[in-house]
């Protein structure tokens, strides 16, 4: 994997800042966008990317982050609808080749799969892991009993 890509991350919360730190450390050019300036404190001291303070649902902010040059956009805000809107704008208007959005609501995720937006649903992912852990434990118990 080449590590000199231009990556825009929307939302600098726990997930966004974690991704930004990691991707920046790997040598990518990273821009983070968040409407709350205080969230930039989550970035590590060696983060070498740019910070854009503003609402990502405004075109002006996305232009400031130079979305037209981006290779990847990851939308990680805590609001599903913001992520879905930004992802669509990134894909269809700025033609960013790889766009990912975090969507908490599995029912909403379904619809956007049809629109060519890659989504990751932490709810489904966590649920699956919990279910698997529960099933594994049950299987272990059964084995013990045998």
């Amino acid at each position: 994997m080449k590590n000199n890509r231009y990556i825009v991350i929307v939302g600098c919360g726990r997930l966004g800042s974690h991704l930004a730190n990691q991707l920046s450390r790997d040598g990518n050019s990273v821009v983070v966008i968040d409407s709350d300036e205080a969230t930039f404190n989550h970035l590590s001291p060696d983060f070498s990317g740019f910070r854009v303070n503003g609402d990502a649902t405004h075109m002006a902010v996305l232009k400031e982050a130079k979305l037209n040059k981006a290779d990847v956009l990851i939308a990680t805000t805590h609001e599903d609808n913001v992520n879905l809107m930004v992802a669509q704008v990134a894909r269809r208007i700025f033609h960013i080749p790889h766009v990912l959005a975090r969507v908490f609501d599995p029912r909403r995720e379904e619809v956007y799969a049809h629109l060519g937006i890659d989504t990751i649903c932490p709810t489904s992912v966590a649920a699956e892991m919990f279910l698997r852990a529960v099933a594994d434990r049950a299987a272990d118990k059964e084995r013990e009993q045998i």
Binding site: T57, I93, R108, V111
Partner: protein
């Protein structure tokens, strides 16, 4: 006709009052419990408490059989997703989103969602009223898709003295009636326009400005 409206505030209240008066079946979706109670008391509409961008709530509100969806919340992202869910998941044939940020009107159009921007509409109305004193009347018809405007040609008008056929007009514009000395004339190409004529113009919102400029010469 069954209309779903997501949002709140006075705009929603008066819109609903309008729609129910016309006999439409209106379902309101609103996130605020107190506002829902108020709306249910004041209007003869069904009120659903919840997030309009949640597929479960849309289903509960009867999105499946709705003829139109109107999303007028203060958040553009919500309006976009509400309209997309309504049309993609529930097959609502007509959806309209409010673009609070006027830039988003264009964005929504590109994403296939019909939208309008109050800022654009109000500012164009004010500009038309304020800058062009010759305009005496403006009447939107056809749900705002067509404007009927009455203007008075003054002596400075670039078209005064010209025959109608010699005036270059943008597409989809028409001089419907010329009123001269209180006599209405439906003009043909050979008719000459004179200073002092009152013209009734038919325009579309998108060519309204350029058409008016062609007659008044303002802004050139």
């Amino acid at each position: 006709m069954k209309v779903l409206i997501v949002g709140g505030g006075k705009t929603l209240y008066f819109l609903c009052r309008n729609f129910t008066a016309k006999g439409y079946e209106v379902v309101i979706i609103n996130r605020n419990k107190e506002e829902c109670v108020q709306l249910a008391r004041q209007l003869s509409a069904t009120v659903v408490l919840g997030d309009g961008s949640d597929a479960g709530i849309l289903k509960e509100a009867g999105a499946m059989g709705a003829d139109a969806m109107l999303a007028i919340t203060p958040n553009d992202q919500d309006n976009l997703v509400i309209c997309q869910l309504a049309s993609l998941k529930f097959g609502v044939p007509r959806t309209v989103a409010l673009a609070n940020d006027p830039d988003n009107a264009e964005v929504f159009d590109k994403l296939g969602v019909f939208s309008f921007s109050t800022t654009d509409i109000v500012s164009s109305l004010i500009e038309q009223r304020a800058s062009l004193e010759q305009i005496t009347n403006l009447l939107p018809v056809g749900e705002g898709r067509v404007n009927v405007t009455e203007i008075i040609l003054d002596a400075d008008s670039p078209v005064a003295g010209k025959a109608l056929k010699d005036i270059e007009l943008p597409d989809n514009a028409l001089v419907a009636v010329v009123i001269r000395h209180n006599q209405p004339i439906v003009p043909r190409g050979a008719n000459q326009l004179l200073a002092g004529d009152r013209l009734v113009l038919i325009t579309l919102p998108e060519n309204h400005g350029p058409v008016l400029k062609a007659f008044t010469g303002e802004g050139k």
